[in-house]
């Protein structure tokens, strides 16, 4: 059993010093002062007017509004006093720690005030009256004080007005606290949401693309909004032997639901490719998984569009087999600058249709060729004329840029997105692949298959 501590400590009667009461009570009071952030933030025209009114009501030359901290007395408003002068710190602190209205008719006769520099020196305060600024739960934060240079009495009416003014200060502090808390809560919520968005975004996109011998690969994500997670995804990963798989797509919707769906799609595509890398089969697998995900659900059916491809090294280039489900055409920028779609006709949305059709096509990427996969944020962007950029607009832009590489393609598309500015209303993911141009050295052989 712990011995019961006495609730009130011995009172120190030293004159001119605030009288420490129960330390627990003072700790509660200081906690209230900190809660109202009064020591840091409270000041302003409202408090200045309170001080001016207090002085006028008492026909006194000076008035202050003070908040008493641990070992500081902070003046948050003053009337009639020269700066840093006439602050009867000892009396302000004593008022708060005594509780209740507090009047000193003649400071020279009061032991707590006698040593105060504002009493002994300029401006020579002789009269002091204070009303406490008290929180709804009864903690005194500070006081509204009136001072005069001659000894005098305080009338009941004057003291009642002073108490009302102290009440006004408290009301104002309450409003400021509520505002402060709202702002704080909002800031925390926002920071939390942004953290979540960044974390999710990291899980949606691979941190870095792997190095594929004989191939250059580059990817980028252009979000429209920093705080809303989009549903675009891509990846490039090794398959059996020397084959590589890649995909890029877009799930319906935005936000947390879209993010969860994106993860499901990404991992399903990778797992399906391990089982059977045939692009058509991979998309059919994904479709089955998404259909199951929705089965019997009330929510709108989740679906996505995607391009899935397999790269097979072949001489100085790669054979590419591509399947698409409802996704805009991949565009090849050939070594001679010609831009052409690599796009099987007729691929449909994944996950939402009965007996959907997924189309597949084979092509080659030769030395100097590049391949661009993108999401519809790019092609559905509006040009300055108000029309949709579309595949034709993108093709023309790429053709004007000429033969390219994966990295240069990324820059080209970045420039285009920048130029379209506000015309871009959806996130855009970009995956670019290219085969380095044939070197002109006489030594023959395939390119840098390390």
């Amino acid at each position: 059993m712990r011995r019961k501590e006495p609730e009130v400590s011995t009172v120190d009667e030293a004159p001119g010093r605030p009288m420490p009461l129960a330390s627990a009570r003072e700790a509660r009071r200081l906690a209230a002062v900190r809660r109202y952030a009064a020591l840091e933030t409270a000041s302003g025209a409202a408090f200045d007017r309170v001080a001016a009114l207090a002085a006028r009501i008492f026909h006194a030359p000076f008035a202050t509004v003070t908040i008493v901290g641990d070992d500081t007395v902070r003046v948050i408003a003053a009337h009639g006093l020269p700066p840093r002068r006439g602050l009867v710190e000892s009396l302000c602190a004593a008022a708060v720690r005594y509780g209740g209205p507090y009047v000193v008719p003649d400071t020279l006769l009061d032991p707590r005030a006698a040593g105060d520099p504002a009493v002994l020196g300029e401006p020579g305060i002789r009269f002091f009256a204070a009303a406490l600024i008290t929180t709804p739960d009864g903690e005194a934060l500070g006081s509204v004080n009136v001072m005069d240079v001659r000894p005098r009495e305080a009338g009941d009416e004057e003291l009642a007005c002073l108490r009302d003014l102290a009440g006004l200060v408290m009301d104002e502090l309450e409003v400021r606290l509520a505002t402060h808390r709202t702002v704080e809560v909002e800031r925390e919520l926002r920071a939390g949401a942004e953290r979540l968005a960044r974390t999710l975004q990291r899980t949606l996109l691979p941190p870095a693309l792997p190095r594929v011998p004989g191939l250059c690969a580059a990817a980028a994500y252009h979000p429209v909004s920093a705080d809303e997670v989009g549903g675009d995804f891509y990846d490039l990963f090794p398959l059996d032997g020397d084959r590589w798989g890649f995909f890029l797509g877009d799930v319906c919707g935005k936000g947390a639901d879209a993010a969860a769906l994106t993860s499901l799609v990404r991992y399903t595509l990778r797992a399906a490719a391990v089982y059977d890398a045939d692009p058509h089969a991979v998309l059919a697998n994904l479709d089955a998984v998404l259909q199951q995900e929705h089965a019997g659900g009330e929510a709108p059916a989740p679906y996505c569009t995607a391009v899935f491809g397999v790269l097979q090294p072949d001489g100085d280039g790669f054979g590419v087999t591509l399947a698409t489900g409802g996704h805009p055409p991949a565009l090849a920028v050939r070594a001679n600058g010609v831009v052409e779609p690599i796009h099987p006709a007729g691929g449909q949305l994944i996950g939402i249709l009965r007996n959907p059709h997924f189309a597949q096509v084979s092509a080659r990427l030769n030395a100097g060729d590049a391949l661009l996969l993108y999401t519809d944020g790019l092609t559905e962007a509006r040009t300055p004329s108000g029309s949709m950029l579309d595949e034709d607009g993108l093709t023309a832009y790429l053709a004007a840029a000429g033969p390219t590489s994966a990295d240069a393609l990324l820059t080209t598309v970045h420039d285009l997105i920048t130029a379209l500015g506000k015309g871009v209303s959806d996130d855009t993911a970009i995956l670019a692949l290219s085969v380095p141009p044939a070197t002109r050295t006489p030594s023959s052989g395939s390119l840098g298959a390390a």
Partner: protein, 119 residues
């Protein structure tokens, strides 16, 4: 991007021939439930077809597409036809890329859709 056009959905009273659902404005995450509710109130059956007039449609996002696809499947199950009319060329282009042109029937105008049904 904000789509502030709102959405109006109105089912024209059945006189003769198919019913006509007129949809105008932006079909997005916020407004699609209104279209879904209207479509759920439509009874499909043999000779109980529906033409959706989309000539006033200014925007259609993924939830709008999902709702139209779901309505098409309900109509198909009931042996009814669901025809889309007056789609904006840009939205039609998006539908085409998604392969929905193989599924849904598009007509330039509601009148043309009604004529196609009466053949």
């Amino acid at each position: 991007m904000q789509h502030d056009n709102g959405l109006t959905v109105s089912l024209q009273p059945h006189t003769s021939g198919p019913r006509l659902l007129v949809v105008a404005g932006d079909l997005d995450h916020h407004t699609t439930p209104r279209l879904r509710a209207a479509l759920e109130g439509v009874e499909f059956g043999p000779d109980a077809d529906l033409v959706i007039d989309l000539s006033g449609l200014t925007f259609c996002d993924s939830t709008g597409i999902a709702t139209l696809v779901a309505a098409h499947q309900r109509a198909q199950d009931a042996g009814a036809a669901l025809l889309l009319a007056g789609l904006d060329p840009d939205i039609a282009r998006v539908f085409q890329i998604m392969g929905l042109d193989q599924l849904l029937s598009f007509y330039d105008s509601p009148e043309e859709a009604v004529r196609a049904l009466s053949k």
